[in-house]
């Protein structure tokens, strides 16, 4: 059973996420008259979010270093695991 306050909290969380997403999408004002040139749009998106993605990897690297202090055995994260 979902209690009212849980629903309110979920709604608040969703609206926060929505606000972030809207802010992100706001970077791309629509141009309905444009013909589609997927190449440049795909390249621009990568350039735009590149810094954020790089920051994510940096944080991950440091996090793995911290984790490895407490864990024995090598890092197996680069192995291909299809059947999780």
């Amino acid at each position: 059973m979902i209690l009212p306050f849980q629903r309110r909290r979920a709604a608040y969380r969703n609206s926060l996420r929505l606000a972030l997403v809207v802010a992100f999408l706001g970077l791309f004002p629509a141009n309905a008259a444009a013909y589609i040139d997927p190449g440049s749009g795909s390249v621009m998106l990568q350039v735009l979010v590149g810094g954020l993605l790089a920051l994510g990897v940096t944080l991950k690297v440091y996090w793995h270093r911290v984790i490895s202090l407490f864990r024995r055995g090598g890092d197996k994260s680069d192995r291909l695991d299809l059947d999780e």
Partner: protein, 479 residues
């Protein structure tokens, strides 16, 4: 394979890259590599990436031809078809069946996506990068996804974004998201858009809640919006901006992490479809089922076909039995739940040489692409040596009104030998099909069945299935 030049035929789907293409000669598949592609090819081989990927079973292996053999083959190709001087000719290991993304189950497409990202990661570590991320470059070696385009690699240039990013999103992420969030049948949309689903179309078709998923927001919604935004500006604006803001190697790693996270997070909430529970809901007793399996095992074992197509395979129960006597089994069914279950089970069991595939026999995959030659129809990918048609004919004849003559004509095109199960009208499954419709099938009887098949096939064996009204027939096509 219908473009002829001397004895060698260039593969009709291999015309886009003038520096390397596939051709066939004497029934063997080759890949021509021109001098223009030599640097990238040598980098793949000399960097150790090729060996690493082949050892991981994610890249199809090949051998390089010697100078003598290579010269003889070149003389069979017209000069104008060669995009410059030859560097080397390769003989890739040939897979028994080429399948397409619109014939894969959700899990198969997901695995093909993950393998593509894994290969890009491995490539990056050795200063290479995939220049294509086409789903058609991945094939299934049984239930193992492998990259078949050895010439997809190029030297990695630091600061340059991933050129295959758009293709990856259109070929993999977009159909997977639609299948996961909308309906599994969206997978068939790839049949209409063979260069991947247009992202504006995908973004408009996905439910609003996908805008709360960071991976999908970035790679589908934001990507579609970016395409729209920069369409008018064109590539000039993009390149000017790129000159100012580079895309670091770490950003590329982040992009791959993000794409992998987005792909892994997509799950298909499986729903029970019509035939998924078929085996739990048949009129077969344990004895009948065991007897049927024994006969299939024995007859296939005697004929030892190289390629066997199990049509209407459901979850592949009899494909596994047939595999004991066949080198390769195409385990085809029209139900995505059954195909997905079959694929997962084959992987869990470590099965080799069984390919579960989504095939709707009422409307099998057509020939597609430029001049109808890029993607082959189901029958163009045949013939098989043997077809297994168990508990199938009543669906074709009664659900789809196919006459015995048409059935015979279809099977005669599929393979030389046929193991077919006769399902009479008195069978409870046939009665179920007839329950909601008028019985217009006066000609549906054993004698008519035997006469129709007898006209094109010779009967090798026949066996009644105990505790059922069904029978098994083994036929060989008359020459």
């Amino acid at each position: 394979m219908n473009e002829s030049s001397g004895d060698a035929r260039i593969h009709p789907a291999s015309f886009r890259d003038p520096s390397a293409f596939l051709f066939e000669s004497g029934g063997v598949l080759y890949r021509w590599v021109g001098e223009r592609a030599a640097d990238d090819y040598r980098l793949l081989m000399d960097s150790g990436l090729y060996t690493e990927l082949v050892e991981e079973s994610v890249l199809v292996d090949h051998e390089e031809l010697g100078r003598g053999e290579s010269t003889a083959l070149q003389s069979r190709l017209r000069d104008k078809e060669l995009g410059g001087p030859t560097h080397v000719i390769l003989r890739p290991r040939r897979l028994p069946f080429i399948s397409y993304p619109y014939e894969w189950s959700f899990q198969q497409l997901k695995h093909a996506a993950l393998v593509t990202l894994h290969i890009q990661r491995r490539a990056l570590a050795r200063d290479l990068s995939l220049k294509d991320a086409s789903a058609y470059n991945v094939q299934f070696d049984g239930v193992t996804p492998v990259l078949i385009d050895t010439l997809s690699f190029e030297r990695y240039v630091d600061g340059r974004p991933w050129v295959a990013y758009r293709q990856f999103c259109q070929h993999f992420l977009a159909p997977l998201a639609l299948m996961a969030y909308r309906d599994i049948r969206w997978g068939l949309a790839s049949r209409e858009h063979i260069d991947g689903l247009p992202l504006d179309f995908v973004a408009a078709s996905l439910p609003r809640r996908t805008r709360l998923r960071p991976g999908l927001v970035m790679h589908l919604h934001g990507h579609a919006a970016s395409q729209k935004r920069h369409a008018a500006a064109g590539s000039a604006a993009a390149s000017t901006s790129l000159a100012r803001r580079a895309f670091s190697r770490r950003a590329m790693e982040g992009l791959l992490d993000s794409l992998e996270g987005a792909v892994r997070a997509l799950r298909w909430k499986r729903e029970d479809t019509e035939w998924a529970e078929y085996y739990d809901d048949t009129n077969y007793s344990g004895t009948a089922e065991e007897h049927k399996a024994r006969v299939v095992r024995q007859w296939v074992g005697e004929l030892r076909p190289r390629k066997l197509w199990d049509l209407g395979a459901n979850d592949g129960r009899y494909s596994r039995v047939a595999k004991e006597g066949a080198s390769f089994v195409l385990s085809a069914d029209g139900d995505p739940v059954a195909v997905d279950r079959n694929y997962r089970q084959c992987r869990a069991e470590g099965q080799k040489g069984i390919l579960p595939l989504l095939v709707d026999l009422f409307n099998p995959s057509p020939a597609l692409g430029w001049e109808h030659n890029e993607r082959m129809s189901l029958l163009q990918r045949g013939p098989a040596d043997m077809v297994l048609a168990l508990a199938l004919m009543h669906h074709l004849c009664i659900s789809n009104n196919v006459s015995f003559d048409r059935l015979v004509s279809f099977f005669a095109r599929c393979a030389e030998t046929l193991l077919i199960e006769w399902v009479p009208k008195g069978d409870s499954q046939v009665q179920r099909l007839l329950a909601t419709r008028e019985d217009i099938f006066d000609g549906y009887g054993r004698e008519a069945f035997e006469n129709a098949f007898g006209a094109r096939f010779s009967l090798l064996k026949r066996e009644e299935i105990p505790e059922s009204k069904r029978s098994l027939y083994l036929y060989r096509r008359l020459s």
